[in-house]
Symmetry: C2
Subunit: 344 residues, 2 copies
């Protein structure tokens, strides 16, 4: 069978003894209606020939596709894969295919993907986690998006509203602030924040929110240590924090890692240093990654409805376009667990 030129619509039309147009109408229910008898003949011919419509040809003729693009920094990161899961689910409901673009956080790749998505005439593009303080890159992305939008595309971002598109705004600041307040309420008084790179917005916002809450509640600013926005970054930052504290007597009683991955790294560092998290030192994270809900001690964190965020972003980008930019805010919820027991 191999090599057998795939059956086309005209093949089907010929086989059914009808015109091209009729075959087309019968096969895809346009507004026009086809006589049942013919309809059946066409369907029969199509299945006999093993006909499969050519989506590319349809896209050309119709001027629109059935695909949406999703840009993430790293699909193997549970934060993004959970968002992707929600978005993929929603896409399926709309009969859309999603093009997964793994940028690896590299600006060039991001731009390349954006161009590719534009070439594909993707119906819509959702950008997740592409927030940097890198102004140059941000403006290049903004330009690419703008021309994509001008061409009739739709786009949305999941992040902070720095791009000229609809966005699902995650309240990193508020969530971290609420967490700080709760921790102070539990009796903690000396905090440190484990942050990612300075130019990573999520990290910066969570840091700022926590600092603000902490300052308002205690009158003092939390210390902080920066490292990678990853499990190992968290471990290293915590190790450094522990060492420094011992050397200069600036021990803290509570640590906020700006995401769960870093928090888990911090947990590991504590374990290695013989510090018992909970009784001796409180540790909290952010995101509430599902697979991490079983670490011990249970990690206090700020829960984000990640899957919903993905769904929401797609809804937003598929909804009817409006002149002004839309924003949909999503708030986190503080989840207290054993890693931050009430301080006695």
């Amino acid at each position: 069978m191999a090599g057998e030129r795939a059956a086309t619509l005209s093949d089907v039309a010929r086989e059914a003894g009808v015109s091209l147009a009729t075959a087309s109408r019968a096969l895809n229910g346009s507004d026009r209606v086809v006589r049942p008898e013919l309809q059946e003949r066409v369907l029969a011919a199509a299945s006999k020939l093993g006909y499969t419509p050519n989506a590319n040809a349809q896209a050309m003729a119709r001027g629109s596709t059935e695909t949406v693009g999703l840009l993430v920094k790293d699909i193997s990161d549970p934060y993004f894969s959970t968002i992707a899961g929600g978005l993929a689910d929603e896409a399926e409901k709309h009969g859309l295919l999603v093009m997964l673009c793994n940028t690896g956080g590299q600006p060039e790749r991001e731009q390349k993907f954006l161009a590719a998505l534009r070439r594909q005439r993707s119906r819509a593009i959702v950008l997740a986690g592409s927030d940097t303080a890198d102004v140059r890159h941000t403006s290049e992305v903004a330009d690419l998006l703008t021309s994509y939008l001008d061409g009739g595309g739709r786009a949305a971002a999941i992040s902070q509203p720095r791009l000229p598109v609809d966005t699902v705004v995650i309240d990193n600041h508020g969530g971290a602030k609420a967490l700080a307040e709760q921790l102070v309420g539990l009796g903690y008084r000396r905090a440190a924040v484990l942050t990612g790179p300075e130019d990573l917005l999520v990290s910066a916002e969570r840091h700022a929110g926590f600092a603000e809450g902490w300052l308002e509640a205690t009158g003092s600013k939390p210390a902080y240590v920066s490292d990678e926005f990853s499990r190992d970054g968290g471990r290293r930052a915590m190790t450094r924090l522990l060492e420094d504290g011992r050397n200069d007597g600036t021990e803290v009683d509570c640590v906020f890692a700006v995401n769960d991955l870093m928090a888990v790294g911090a947990l590991a560092a504590c374990r290695q240093a013989g510090v018992e998290v909970g009784p001796e030192l409180a540790v909290a994270g952010f995101d509430d990654i599902a697979t991490l809900r079983d670490v011990t001690p249970g990690l206090t964190t700020v829960r984000l409805p990640l899957a919903d965020i993905g769904r929401l972003a797609l809804e937003l980008v598929l909804g009817k376009p409006s002149a002004e930019l839309r924003k949909r805010s999503v708030h986190g919820e503080v989840v207290l667990r054993e890693s931050t027991p009430p301080r006695s």
Copy 2:
């Protein structure tokens, strides 16, 4: 600007004062060469007009696309997202876009996606984790794949070789067997397996491999409890196992959960039941999910090079086609951690 019909190749050609053919050749380096001067003129015109090639049109004219499809059961599951990450990386190197299809384990969806991918004329399709003992569904998928292949498509699977395509075979049996042997070597004598649904092949294979290893080493077959192939399934199965053991005196000293997620659920169940994993009861998993490497106690497991598996699958499916089906075996490596200390 909006609404402005996107510039086409003919616009560019006209603007540059050359023919359509020349513009095409200049813009995409066909085998033909264009005089540098003209080349430049075309490039200039293209950038002036903000020209973006239409991938759908190219696909039609060329008869081939730049996309590959990836079917996974659940992208938010770290097992799949890690595979997806590796595959996406590799795809990027080849300049390919990946269409992510989240099947949710539903056969109909899987078939729908396969059809969609075929319509899209995807260059290749990689199926991950779609292994059921459901013969009917398997054969329907096989049929769909066959006709896709006949149409010139390429496909590969990650799993067991039950489909008529190249496959990256994961040695679930061998890995589990090796784990069993090591556990016996550590001094364990009474094991139980926490399995997923009977018709899930990965689960069945791991169970069988473990049972075989255990039987050969101890002369007895491990008990087993089935539940969902998930964290909660693991928790429930473990809870039941613990209760039963207390009631009828069949306590075990060692438990093998067929994947890390279930193992983590089992850990939670033990914690709740006041059983100390490690000293009192050994627990092991399978996969070595990255984010789970920090649970306490450290989970003994069988490490699978998940990202490599994704990469490998793409390589396989992109490599030159061969008459006979190719298989690439991937083996797991037992990683001993604190959850299975040597038995004293």
